[in-house]
Structures are given as C-alpha cells and as structure tokens.
C-alpha cells in the first residue's frame, strides 16, 4: 500500500540525555515556532495592533481628547503633534495630525483598524468554513459533487477577482461592513477548497480511515472526526494568509469607493482621494497605507512561519 510510506507524522527524538521522547507534530511545531524570531515578532505586532485598535483606542481617545468623527474646520491638515482648543474650551492633541476635515488622524487610523481587522478576520472565517467543508466533502466523495464544485471554482477563478468583487459590491443593496464581510467570504473560499480537497484525497486512503470505515463509522464521522483534525495545520496557515489577503481586498475596494463608505473609516477609504493631499499633508497618504502594509506583511510572515513549523519533513 502506497499510504504506508507517507503515514509517519510523529517523530521520535533522542535527546542529549539519551531518553527517547515521542512528540506530536503540533508540539514539534510549537517548539520550532518558539525559536522562529521573525514569526514571533510578526505575531506580537499583529496582537499589538489588534489590541490598540479594539481596546487601547478608548484610552488614547480619552488621553488626547480626540475622536474619529469630530470635524475641526479651524485646523485641517494639521501637522503631527499639533494641538488645538475646541469649542467647549477643552484642548486636544493630534499626535498624527488631522485630515482634510480636521478630524484626528490617529483616532481615525485606530478606528479604521478595528473595521479593517474585523472585516478581514470575519470574512476569512466565512471563506475558511465554506472552503474546508466543501474541500472535505468533494475530496471524500468525489464524483458528481466534486465535478459541480470544480465547475463553480473554475468559473469563479476565471473572472478577474477584483472585477468580481467590484460588481458584487456595486450590486449589493446596502454597503456596510457586514455586507462586505459576506461578499468577501462568499468569494474567497476557492483556494482553500482546492487545498483541502487535495489533502483529503490523500488522507482518505490511509489505513486509519480504512479501518474506521471497516468498523462502520458513518461518512460524516470519518470526515469530521478523522479527517478534519489532520487538516489543522493547513487550516491555521490558510487562515493567517487569508486574513491578510482579505484585508488587502477590502482596502482596494474601499479605496475605489465600493467597500466601507465614509463617515466610517477604513484604511482603504482613508486613502481615497489622498492624491489631492500631496502638497498639504503627506501624513494622510503615508500612515493608512503603512498600517495595511504592516498588518498584511505580519500576517503573511505568520503564515510562512507556521508553514515551516508544521512541515513534517523539516529537520530541527
């Protein structure tokens, strides 16, 4: 049987002290991750960004007496670390300056981060759920379901993805974060399905699946208690990379005016029209893009790091 050669997942490691220690793939991966500085830094940065956007922003808004919505026409395009006295005599500090309407840039960036991160994460979860479910089912059953799903995938992937997103975004009756999440999620599953389907095809021929089938386990049980756990590493790698790509997609759509719409801030729509700010406030061009870039870069690095860590053929 061909499957025999690909079966070993756990390794026996002989430590210096001469004891043989059996380790699961997950434990080995965690150990490798602990030594992978770049991935750890990326993880830390993403966590910090998420924390600041969701929780820290409340404190920051209060400390500098700013909020993302208030318009200050007396200080548009204010430079970094400038201040101003508000109508109610209180004073505000604009750490990253203000935008074309005098709104605080830092506060907007962080509130935008909340939306961009949420959209990316939620859409990735939807895409992943659809992708994994369809991948397992098509890989396990094959036949007509497989053909139909493959046809849908071939159709969706041959339409340039941004055009597809554009049409759907334009067609959607209401444009809010929730709509955008659904649209991105419903279109982003094709790659995952292909990957999971391929994995399932190879797992389904292994002995433990055959023996599970022999003792009468239902297909549902085999798919979700025997195959799914083996896809764990693939799933978290895909999740990290998908969140990154979907944040990029959301940013592009919002930049083109078809994603998150003002007054809600997202990193993409903050750059919309920023070409006009070249002479008056470069910070308005730099920071939103930098936020997208750093977030996506870190997520991709995490994905890469996880892939290396979970690689069963890698040597320590």
């Amino acid at each position: 049987m061909a499957a025999q050669t690909q079966a070993p997942v756990a390794k026996i490691k002989t430590s210096n002290r001469g004891k043989a220690v059996g380790q699961s793939l997950t434990r080995m991966a965690l150990r490798r991750l602990r030594r992978d500085k770049l991935t750890l830094i990326a993880l830390l940065v993403v966590m910090l960004l998420a924390f600041t956007s969701y929780i820290g922003v409340i404190g920051i808004d209060r400390a500098f007496n700013v909020d993302p919505e208030t318009v200050h026409l007396d200080r548009t395009f204010a430079p970094l670390f400038s201040g101003g006295v508000n109508r109610d005599e209180s004073s505000s500090t604009h750490v990253l300056g203000t935008d074309d309407l005098g709104r605080d840039h830092l506060s907007r960036l962080l509130h935008a981060g909340r939306i961009s991160l949420s959209v990316g994460f939620a859409a990735a979860m939807i895409a992943l759920s659809i992708g994994v479910t369809l991948g397992i089912i098509t890989g396990y059953y094959g036949g007509i379901i497989d053909d139909v799903v493959n046809w849908v995938i071939a159709t969706l992937t041959s339409i340039p993805s941004l055009f597809l997103l554009l049409i759907i975004a334009a067609v959607m009756p209401s444009a809010g974060p929730a709509t955008l999440i659904i649209v991105l999620g419903l279109l982003g599953w094709t790659g995952t399905t292909r990957l999971v389907r391929g994995e399932t095809l190879s797992i389904r021929e292994r002995e433990y699946i055959i023996s599970a089938r022999a003792i009468g386990a239902s297909p549902l049980r085999i798919m979700f208690t025997h195959i799914l756990p083996n896809l764990f590493s693939l799933i978290i790698i895909t999740l990290a990379i998908d969140i990154g790509s979907l944040i990029l997609a959301e940013a592009a759509l919002s930049y083109l005016g078809l994603g998150i719409k003002p007054p809600d801030a997202s990193w993409g729509n903050m750059l919309d029209g920023s070409q006009e700010f070249f002479t008056r406030g470069i910070h308005l061009v730099i920071f939103p893009g930098l936020m997208i870039f750093i977030t996506v870069l870190c997520l991709y690095l995490i994905g890469d790091g996880l892939r290396d860590a979970f690689d069963p053929t890698a040597k320590d």
Partner: protein
C-alpha cells in the same frame, strides 16, 4: 496536438457558460439592475409602455431574458416576408394582427405587431449600448480601451519576467546566502504591499517631489485624438508598469527559485558536471533552461492577476484602459459595459489557461498528448 487543443477548448465551454450565467444573474437580480435602468417613463400610455417593455424583454422569465442576452432575439422574433413586421416567433411574443398571423397572447393590446428582433446577443459580440455614453456600442467603447491595457499589461509581464527570473535563478544558485534571504523578504513585501498605496507613494516621490516622472496619464498630448508612438511617452509607462509588475516579480522570483532547486537534483545536471563543463554552463545552459519550462503554466493566472491589478493601477494613474473603464462603469452602474468588461476579462483568462497548458506540453518533451 490538435486533438489536445480541441479537448482543452471543449472543456472550457462549461466554464464559459458558468461565467455568463453567473454574471447575468448577478446583474439581473440586483436592485436597480439593468432593467430598471432602462428608465421607462411612467407617464407613457399603458399600451406604449407595454410595447416598450415587450421589445426590451424585461417582463419575460429570467431564463428567456438570459437567452436573449446570450444569443440575441433576432432568431426568436423573425420577419420572413420582409414587411418589417415579425411573423414567426420562438418563446417570445410578436403581438398580433387582424389577419391572424402571429402570436395572439395579448389581444387587449390592440392591433399591434412588433418589429423583428434586432439584438444579436453577446455570443455574436453584441453587448448592447452603453447607458453612460449616450447609446454608443459597448464593444466599440471597450475596443478603444484595449490597446492601452495591452500596452501596460505586456510591459508589466515582461518586467516581471526580466526582473523575477534572474532573481530566482541567482537565489537558487546562492541558496541560503544573504541574496536568497533578502529576495525571500522582498517577495513577501511585494505581496503584502497594497498596490494602490505603492502607486501613491511612487507618484508622491517621483512625480510630486522629484518631478522626474509624470504623475498620471498615458500621453503628454491633450489635444487631438492620436496617441504618439510608445518611445515618445515611455516616461508615462515607467511607474504604472513597475506597480503592476510587483506581484509578478514576487511570484516569478519565488517560483523560479523553487523550479531551479528541483532541476539541480536531476541526473542530467550531474552528468553535465561530470563531463567537466564549467559551473556557469551547467547552471545556465542545463539548469536554467529546464527550470524555465514550468513558468509556462503561469500565463493563465498571470492574465487574471494583471487584469485585477490593472483595475487599480489604471485608476490610480488615470491610465485610459479596460480596468479603469470597468471601475468607472461599476460605480456609474453602466451595466452593459460592466458585463462586457467582465466577460472579455474572463475569456482572456480562460484562453490564457488553455494557452499555457498547450505551451507547457509543447515545450516539455516529457509530456505526451495522448
């Protein structure tokens, strides 16, 4: 070979149908979709209104509407005796007359015969008229923008190959060295950078600050219709080409490196080495040439990526191509144009995939056609 090509073309037909069904449904089911946008005046007398709607086919079942859009209605409502009135029909009404010719579904309408259908359907290249450009033929509008997109797309593809491939080869030769590591980082960076932002930053630096390159557009000439030859406006091409090529550079350099590392372990490389050939000859003549073969499979995905990227790049740089046209038409809800852009893009992608499969089979002697 011909058999293989034919088979691939036939396999593409269901996908093509999928694309038309999917995009039509999307458009037809959208609120304020193509039919609502016909803007039928509510003050029209009911009979005239009915007639207009009939001719536009908006009250037909969606399946019939799709069929009309796909194949046209000139074969559904036909005039056989040449009097300008339809007298034979298939699936759709032709009205009726006093002599009893035609289809009598709707007698309350009065004596009325519709003219024969004049739509040819997208299958024959009839995408209808644009809403935004005062009834101009969509295909003509799209056709005017294709050269600009091809110009940008081809130069980006060439740039991607010319930069990406050597980087990949060199990274593989010096595997694990600083060059390899930095190109690995470069590839991730190029993938993660939002291209519209990269475009903005480059415009800011090279256009607004240093004043070295134009900030947008395709040509310096604003008066007149002609486009000067490409060598007179090469500076307009530099920034958009680079921005559009970043994705390709990242992908090609990584892929070329992997492909090169695959090739290194082949027997013929060892043979070449043991024959006493110089290292340079072994790497480049025996290694790189074979490592290039799998790159042929990238043509299909490259076309989709370039078209998707073009939508953004062309918008930022005000490049008068298909991508920007698609974006403005989506925003302006010019549905016939959107449909045309999507379907042309999808067909180009499908052909790209088929072409790359055939190319791959042609170049690699290990692949057989049967």
């Amino acid at each position: 070979m011909i058999k293989y090509t034919l088979r691939r073309l036939i396999q593409a037909i269901p996908t093509l149908f999928g694309i038309t069904i999917f995009s039509y449904l999307l458009m037809a089911l959208s609120p304020g979709g193509p039919t609502a946008a016909l803007a039928i005046d509510p003050r029209l007398p009911p009979a005239v209104r009915e007639r207009t709607e009939r001719l536009a086919g908006v009250n037909e079942p969606i399946f019939v509407q799709y069929l009309i859009w796909l194949t046209g209605d000139d074969w559904m409502r036909v005039d056989t005796d040449g009097d300008g009135k339809a007298d034979r029909s298939f699936l759709i009404d032709i009205g009726y007359d006093a002599n009893g010719d035609g289809d009598y579904d709707d007698r309350e309408l009065g004596e009325e015969i519709y003219p024969p259908g004049d739509k040819q359907g997208i299958i024959r290249g009839d995408f209808g008229d644009s809403f935004a450009y005062a009834g101009r033929d969509v295909l003509q509008l799209v056709g005017e923008r294709i050269p600009a997109t091809l110009e940008l797309g081809i130069s980006a593809l060439i740039t991607g190959l010319v930069i990406g491939v050597p980087i990949g080869i060199y990274a593989a030769v010096k595997k694990g060295g600083w060059f390899d590591n930095s190109t690995r980082i470069l590839a991730v960076v190029f993938n993660a950078i939002p291209i519209f932002w990269l475009a903005l930053i480059l415009i800011l630096i090279f256009g607004a600050r240093l004043d070295l390159l134009p900030m947008a557009g395709r040509t310096p000439r604003t008066i007149g219709t002609g486009i000067p030859p490409i060598y007179e406006r090469i500076e307009y091409l530099i920034l958009p080409t680079f921005v559009l090529a970043t994705g390709a550079i990242a992908v090609y350099s990584r892929y070329m490196r992997a492909s090169m590392l695959d090739v290194i372990n082949q027997d013929y490389m060892r043979t070449a080495q043991s024959k006493g050939l110089s290292t340079r000859k072994v790497w480049f003549q025996h290694g790189a040439r074979n490592a290039l073969i799998p790159l042929a499979t990238f043509l299909g995905p490259a076309i989709t990526n370039l078209l998707s990227g073009a939508a953004i790049t062309e918008t930022v740089f005000a490049w008068p191509g298909l991508g920007r046209f698609g974006v403005t038409s989506v925003i302006g809800r010019d549905y016939p144009v959107v449909m045309a852009v999507v379907i042309i893009g999808a067909v180009a992608t499908l052909l790209g995939y088929i072409l790359s499969d055939i190319l791959y089979a042609l170049i690699d002697p290990r692949i057989r056609f049967d």
